[in-house]
């Protein structure tokens, strides 16, 4: 059992949990993820680690409520326990000094790009961060991102905060201004990572993305998370989750992410109905 020490609602439907997991806290590096299972009847879902505190033995997870499991997790309070947390899984991000790094976070992806922006900054890179949200009420980790970035831009789809538009619009501006960019890290919804990768490809700007495939075991055993990168089948759980965005078949990823759409709807509706009764 893994005890939740702190819980905070960062924005509508986005919750932060600080969880006691000493083994994972000691080992985890930016870019790695955990698999969690809430209880005996729960499913196993991958969640990328936002922060760790090896001394306190805690990890921080930022989770958006999108399906049954994440809605249910949203009801967990400090003191509650999560049945299983397994990790750290996947390969860590490659953090090197390359010059100027643009760190892009889309929605809850901001929580994942945050430790990487921080690590790139600590390596001595010039870090430009662009974080984008649907609307002002969904904005998260703005202050944290500001602290680890040389420049920070916030975009909202509806213009209610920061620049109106998508993260890719801001990136396009930077590229067109002639800013020298050595590396782009883009983490967020698959469609956003696809758009960013398509944007940087003609300029030859190396672009790394973190793939959020459906997983079961997370250790290479089942192949649920398979993706195509450079025409080859790879497992996001052990070969990734980070890959060269220019090589990823995003259309396949998007289709595979929707494989259980119907079941996800049934499970969520059933859960919310039961919760409504309680």
């Amino acid at each position: 059992m893994f005890k939740i020490l702190e819980r905070e609602t960062l924005a509508e439907h986005i919750n932060k949990f600080v969880v006691e997991a000493p083994l994972i806290a000691k080992k985890a590096l930016p870019g790695q993820f955990v698999i969690l299972r809430l209880h005996e009847k729960g499913e196993r879902i991958p969640i990328t680690i936002c922060e760790t505190d090896p001394e306190k033995g805690t990890i921080t997870l930022v989770v958006q409520e999108v399906g049954k499991t994440t809605y249910e997790l949203g009801t967990y309070q400090a003191g509650d326990e999560i049945a299983d947390i397994i990790g750290p899984l996947g390969k860590p991000a490659e953090i090197e000094k390359v010059g100027t790094v643009v760190a892009i976070g889309g929605g809850v992806g901001t929580a994942i790009v945050y430790p990487e922006a921080k690590a790139f900054k600590e390596k001595g890179n010039y870090v430009i961060s662009i974080i984008g949200f649907r609307s002002k009420r969904f904005v998260i980790l703005e202050e944290e991102m500001r602290k680890v970035s040389d420049e920070l831009y916030v975009t909202t789809d509806d213009g209610s905060y920061g620049m109106k538009g998508f993260v890719s619009d801001k990136l396009k501006e930077l590229i067109e201004e002639g800013r020298k960019i050595d590396l782009v890290i883009a983490i967020g919804p698959a469609i956003m990572m696809k758009v960013v990768s398509d944007l940087t490809r003609p300029y030859g700007i190396k672009t790394i993305v973190s793939l959020n495939s459906i997983m079961v075991d997370g250790t290479g055993m089942c192949g649920a998370c398979r993706v195509e990168v450079g025409g080859k089948t790879r497992f996001a759980c052990v070969d990734g989750p980070e890959f060269d965005g220019h090589q990823v078949d995003f259309d396949l990823l998007i289709k595979r992410l929707a494989m259980y759409k119907e079941e996800e709807r049934i499970a969520l509706e059933r859960y919310l109905k039961e919760r409504g009764k309680a």
């Binding site: 080992k27 009847k41 196993r44 250790t219 055993m221 089942c222 595979r256 079941e263």
Partner: protein, 464 residues
């Protein structure tokens, strides 16, 4: 010689059992068991024991069954086998103990597996599971990585020798392939839990949710005071066919299909959270036991037609005859001498067909089986809604990639001594599928047992 025929196993009727995930074979009653036990000739030189990888004292336990001393029979088996309820169910006895039975020369061998299962279940049902006499604790820590058949056996044997054993398991439940792979209808999960509980009774500590190689390394385990480590990792990396369209939606590896079904209980969705997609027409590619497990699971998930696609003929299928017969009884449709060339998808990316090519059998290959050869121009489209690929597994490199001292062969499996399980890294032993490649539960157990003996010797003498 008494002319008692081999007593048949009572089973759920096929038309009933394909509607549920409950165990197919119901087990002997006391009367059936005693009657079957009476068939045993009590050979002074019992060949059946030679056929058993862990050398269960077969005639002795059968004699106790005949005398209705069921509890004592269970203790007799457990002297050599800590997992009798599992072995009684999933061992290929027809290839091992029963193959050597003298009665089998002219007629049918004693149903040793069924008797073993009966005895283990009887003991559990009568609440008589007792801790055996244990030696004094040695105060020496041994780590076992993986809680499948090899790891459980090795841990049990070492605990019985007085070592402090900790098992590290990556999944959230111990049992390895016994939990995630073999279906409920062949090996009920409460039986696995019962056998695992027996290990706990022996003093074995089990830590789940620990991915050795990721959460913790072998070097750290040694630093923590473990004096020896046994690796029973299992094979654990699914093979795919490497043909176009393999990543279409609705195509599963057998590992994923079975893990969702068995470990995650997807057949109880939405009560359990994990879903599974099983369409009306399901094709399972492969001819081994895993393929049989997958295709029979598909029927129980509600498939209207469940097919086996196998490139050789029935005679070459590696699955146990009993499992093939069970599948046939349940209405599984077997398509022999056909091989997939590509998968065809619909406009949304879901699989809708497989292009199959007909095969004929040529000269024997290195496995001794006749090699299937494609017949040019014989391609045709086989319509499907769901595909499960059950063509085997290879070695999972997660732990080994971060432990370069451990030598691997060209297939990625650990190079370990067959008799001792010793690897190229001092203090590290290995056994089961991660050494042999895919094999049976009992073979993995045999390896675990030999390694336990070697670990004891290493820890007593310090000799590597």
């Amino acid at each position: 010689m008494k002319k008692i025929p081999r007593q048949p196993m009572p089973k759920q009727p096929p038309e009933e059992r394909i509607k549920n995930f409950n165990e197919v074979a119901l087990g002997y009653t006391e009367e059936l068991a005693v009657k079957e036990a009476e068939r045993c000739l009590q050979c002074p030189r019992p060949f059946c024991v030679d056929g058993c990888p862990v050398k269960v004292k077969i005639p002795e336990f059968i004699k106790l069954v005949k005398e209705r001393k069921f509890s004592e029979a269970a203790k007799k088996i457990k002297e050599d086998n800590v997992l009798p309820a599992i072995c009684g169910r999933v061992c290929p006895q027809e290839e091992q103990c029963e193959k050597k039975c003298v009665l089998g020369i002219k007629g049918e061998p004693v149903a040793i597996g069924r008797l073993e299962r009966f005895v283990a279940d009887w003991e559990a049902e009568h609440g008589e599971i007792e801790k055996p006499e244990m030696p004094e604790k040695k105060g020496i820590k041994v780590a076992v990585v993986g809680s499948g058949p090899a790891g459980l056996t090795c841990a049990g044997d070492l605990a019985k020798m007085g070592y402090d054993v900790t098992i590290f398991e990556a999944l959230h439940k111990p049992g390895g392939v016994l939990i995630y792979g073999i279906p409920e209808f062949r090996l009920p999960k409460h039986i696995v839990e019962r056998e695992v509980d027996y290990l706990r009774l022996l003093g074995v500590e089990i830590k789940v949710d620990v991915v050795v190689g990721k959460s913790i390394t072998l070097y750290e385990l040694f630093d923590m005071g473990y004096k020896a480590i046994f690796l029973g990792l299992g094979a654990g990396l699914p093979k795919f066919l490497g043909i176009p369209g393999e990543n279409l939606l609705g195509i599963y590896s057998a590992n994923e299909f079975l893990t969702r079904t068995n470990l995650m209980k997807a057949y109880l969705f939405p009560e359990y959270d994990t879903p599974i997609k099983v369409g009306k027409r399901v094709a399972v590619i492969g001819g081994g036991n895993v393929a049989m497990d997958a295709v029979r699971s598909a029927l129980r998930h509600g498939a209207e037609e469940a097919h086996i696609i196998y490139r050789r003929s029935r005679a070459e299928m590696p699955a146990r005859l009993e499992e093939i017969e069970n599948a046939e009884e349940e209405g599984v449709i077997f398509n022999f001498l056909v091989n997939p060339k590509r998968f065809i998808g619909d406009e949304n990316g879901w699989v809708k067909g497989i292009e199959l090519v007909k095969m004929e059998l040529g000269e024997p290959d290195e496995s001794g089986r006749r090699r299937p050869v494609p017949i040019p121009g014989s391609e045709f489209i086989f319509e499907v809604d769901t595909v499960v690929i059950a063509i085997g597994q290879t070695a999972n490199p997660v732990l080994l990639d971060v432990t370069p001292e451990i030598k691997r062969n060209r297939w990625g499996y650990i190079e370990a001594d067959y008799e001792t399980g010793k690897t190229s890294m001092k203090g590290v032993f290995a056994g089961g599928d991660i050494v042999t490649g895919e094999a049976t539960v009992i073979e993995a157990m045999g390896f675990g047992r030999r390694a336990a003996k070697a670990i004891d010797e290493y820890l007593r003498t310090g000799k590597w």
